[in-house]
């Protein structure tokens, strides 16, 4: 090619590029946020009402169309509740969402401290949402409850059926003292996942934290010991979704995971499959569990607050709440909803266990949550690792390679010096 042709080619392509950029600016919607009154943006996690699935956005659009004010709902899905909160904090000064669904009674403290929510009370469901749920989630109404349940162990009878009877008296100590048992368990990372965080608080409530004046159920004062001894055998994954993938993957051989007391209903209601069961820990012969209330809230600075409020009202009404048990597999917050028989037969209700939350208290949670996560990360980083690969066999090689490299560099340096 001649130089001239090339230079004109470059000029032309630069021009095309430039015009394209300009065009993109026009074509690009630089904002996610709703800019019209007939649009709302909802942030939630990817498993909300997802299995077998209820199209709640479609239902709301239809509901509003019938009401005479059509709206379109833009759903944005995240891996886990903590990720949603992180996103809300990052966008605090330029909020993109109108409604957030899925922050719970633990995350609400951080959400309030960061100022990402706006308090709101749905008038249409007054009296239908038990006050106990509201006090447990947030008495200040930054979030309103839409479902609840307990965090629990969830296990597969086909693989660990031999544990079925023992699990009625199992303790957290059992997991610590019996590494075979711990080797069966999948736990979610509390930094990212809300059931994972619930389980971390469960261990804190049981063992206590002396430095922070929490004595716990057992009054021993150091929850970190449990993690230190158990962690080498645990499988710690990022999210509840990752956990369930591994739970069902036979060769991973992890038939117990941290899930919800209502998880067994999933198989039982759909296929009369009672091959899984849920259990909690039984310290001093009493059943204990962490109580979770999930909430829906209005995002501070939402661009379409009126429609967002419409949505929240509808989400808490019987209209939607009746779909919670068999799609979300949690207890619906609205007490007017009648629970299906199969649900009652298979799920663990919070009333059947002693709730651990009061052993820590809301104040301590908002004060220490960050420290606890730090401490948890430190504990996990420090524990020995059970590698399931060929590398441990070779770790003496590793030393050899490093030594070899050091020797090589030294020899090289000495030689150079001599030259």
């Amino acid at each position: 090619m001649k130089a001239k042709t090339i230079s004109s080619l470059v000029t032309i392509s630069l021009l095309i590029l430039a015009s394209f950029s300009l065009q993109s600016i026009h074509g690009t919607n630089t904002n996610l946020r709703a800019n019209a009154n007939d649009e709302i943006v909802i942030y939630t996690y990817d498993s909300l009402l997802a299995d077998p699935g209820y199209n709640f956005t479609g239902a709301f659009e239809e509901y509003m169309a019938n009401k005479g004010s059509p709206v379109s709902v833009k759903l944005v899905l995240f891996e886990d509740a903590n990720t949603i909160l992180t996103r809300l904090i990052l966008e605090k000064d330029n909020p993109q969402a109108d409604v957030v669904i899925g922050l719970d009674n633990v995350l609400v403290h951080r959400a309030k401290a960061e100022g990402v929510l706006e308090p709101y009370i749905s008038q249409n469901v007054q009296g239908e949402i038990p006050s106990e749920l509201i006090t447990n989630l947030d008495p200040d109404h930054y979030l309103q409850p839409y479902d609840f349940g307990i965090i629990s162990f969830w296990a597969d009878k086909n693989r660990v059926g031999y544990l079925l009877d023992d699990s009625q008296s199992i303790t957290l100590d059992d997991f610590r003292d019996n590494s075979t048992l711990a080797s069966l368990l999948i736990v979610e990372n509390p930094v990212f996942s809300s059931p994972g965080l619930g389980f971390l608080l469960w261990t804190i409530a049981v063992y206590g934290d002396e430095d922070k004046g929490i004595s716990g159920v057992l009054g021993q004062g150091d929850w970190k010991e449990w993690w230190k001894e158990t962690a080498p055998y645990l499988r710690i994954v990022k999210s509840w979704g990752d956990a369930i993938d591994e739970f069902f993957a036979e060769e991973a051989n992890r038939p117990i995971m941290i899930s919800y007391g209502t998880s067994p209903s999933y198989g039982y209601c759909q296929w009369q499959d009672n091959s899984t069961w849920a259990f909690v820990s039984h310290e001093n012969n009493r059943a204990y569990a962490w109580y979770q209330v999930e909430g829906i809230g209005l995002v501070k600075g939402a661009s379409n607050p009126n429609m967002a409020k419409e949505f929240i009202d509808w989400f808490l009404s019987e209209d939607l709440q009746q779909h919670i048990p068999e799609n979300q597999w949690m207890y619906p917050a609205n007490s007017n909803v009648t629970l299906p028989q199969c649900f009652l037969e298979s799920a663990l209700h919070p009333n059947n266990v002693t709730i651990l939350n009061s052993y820590i208290g809301n104040e301590a949670i908002s004060q220490y949550l960050d420290t606890w996560l730090d401490e948890w990360e430190e504990v996990i980083a420090g524990v020995g690792k059970q590698e399931d690969s060929i590398l441990p066999v070779l770790s003496s090689w590793e030393v050899a390679i490093v030594l070899g490299l050091v020797a090589f560099v030294t020899q090289d340096l000495i030689r150079r010096r001599r030259e």
Partner: protein, 581 residues
Amino acid sequence: MASKIVGNKGVYDYLRGFRLSFLFLTISFLFLLFAFFIPLAQVLLVAFGYGFGSYRFTFQYMVEIIAKRSFLEAVVFTFEQALWTTGLSLIVGLPVGYFLARYEFPGKGVIRDLLTLPFILPSVVMLLGLILAFGPDGFVTQASRDVFGSPMISLYGTKSGIILAHTLYNISVVIRITEIGWGSLSQEEEQVARTLGASHSQFVLKIALPNMKGYIRTAALLVFLYSFNSFAIVLALGEVRYKTIEVLIYESARVRFKFHQAATLTFYQLIINATVIYGYLSLSPSATPVSGEEGYYEKQTLRGLVPNYKLVIRLATWSVYVSVVLFASLLPIIAVLRTSVLIRVDQSDVFSNYKILFSNRYDPLLGLSLGQVIRNTLFIASGVVFLSIALALPIARYFGFYSNIDRETNEQASRFVSLGIILPMATSPVSLSLGLIIAYQFSNFFENNVVFWIITAQTLVALPFVYRLISSRYEQLDPETVRVARTLGASSFHVFKSIEFPFLAKTVMVAAVFSFAISLGEFGATYFFSRIEWTTLAIAVFKLKSARQPGIPSAMAVILILISFVSFRAISIGEETELRV
């Protein structure tokens, strides 16, 4: 003084004669100052306790973090996996480099290209490919389960998974560099050694390898630095247990909002990177340049060889070895291609995954339509192309060319400038972004124009490469031509238009393609800033990597592969310049 002999222009004349070019030069420096040096200084201030509500200097954060198990574990792991990767890549790659340097056979060019392919791929593509091949549902895992009854390797949460990923990535770097090294060995030396009775292996160990130490060191350094600063792969595969410092910086700043900690980590990471690079430079004062002369070694061809038993065995061993390495390095690409056509949204149409990418189908997992992802990607990439060339050109022009003609800057100043422009390269993408965020996050402009910061960060990543390309081309321009033109009264603009630009055009084009490819595949900085509405292809691939529908991210990855490959070809056709610094 030299300036008396050659032209008589002083700074003042320069200002008068080249006002426009000085304007551009100033813009370039201001960009570097505000996008890189000020943010970097801010990070250091924050690391020493200054900023975010506290306004006194303290070593508290520096000391505190050393006592942290999570930090120590991350440092140890970062070194450990980087050393493993370096060792394994060298062991696997060196023989292949030897093979390519010594043997001539039909189709060699294609094989070399294919072997080099992984090295130019965006890390998210590699990651997706590995998950599709070696993940719990991967086809390699399934095959190995059928044959051996257990998966070959567990990819998630294990050291071996991360080391495998990094090694597959880096074998190609070793092959590419050592091929040149093997080729640069003197044939005479070998013949002398052989005549004196040395066996082939004696020759390789005692003469060949010591002689190409420079190449091996260069390759080792590159592999080490790459895996030391690895982000996407470790972020996805390392889980809670294995984190590189880079991942720790990201999590501190973007998940836990601990900016002091993130800044301190960045400080330590910078020190380690700088030490490694400095150690390398001081270890090999006369380090052999990567772009040595190639091929004065006579290559062995098959033609005219009398087949005998030994030869057949040797060739068979080589072909098996090279095929295995080739297959292993291409596995991720094969996995991505295979998935993109096999697991489809629409069973009746083989290319449905690709078509859907350009449609307006809304994807709730991404929070925007797939077509918008493509538009975002192209928009950001064109911004990066434009900015990086517009900023690199004036600096390269002045310091790579005019400073030589007019001899008015001494060499030290020139070296200082090229160090300044290459310094962002020693800073990891996540650290670059951390700097920008710390420096500007509280401004309204930041909040409302996230895309500007994404483009800025990506430009910082691309700039050193673009600068190297353009300035090395400038160095080839004959100063006499320009001098004559100027003596004859041509204006600066005229000289640029009719002499410099035509001379540079091809290189500028190559640089454009290259920065386009960098922008497309860039993950660390983009992920750091990522906003849902500005999701790019690379971010989308990462987000969808373990989704139930792997067909769509695979199709996205295939597009990234194609663009990377095309740009790689464009570079090797366009220029003989080595792109690595």
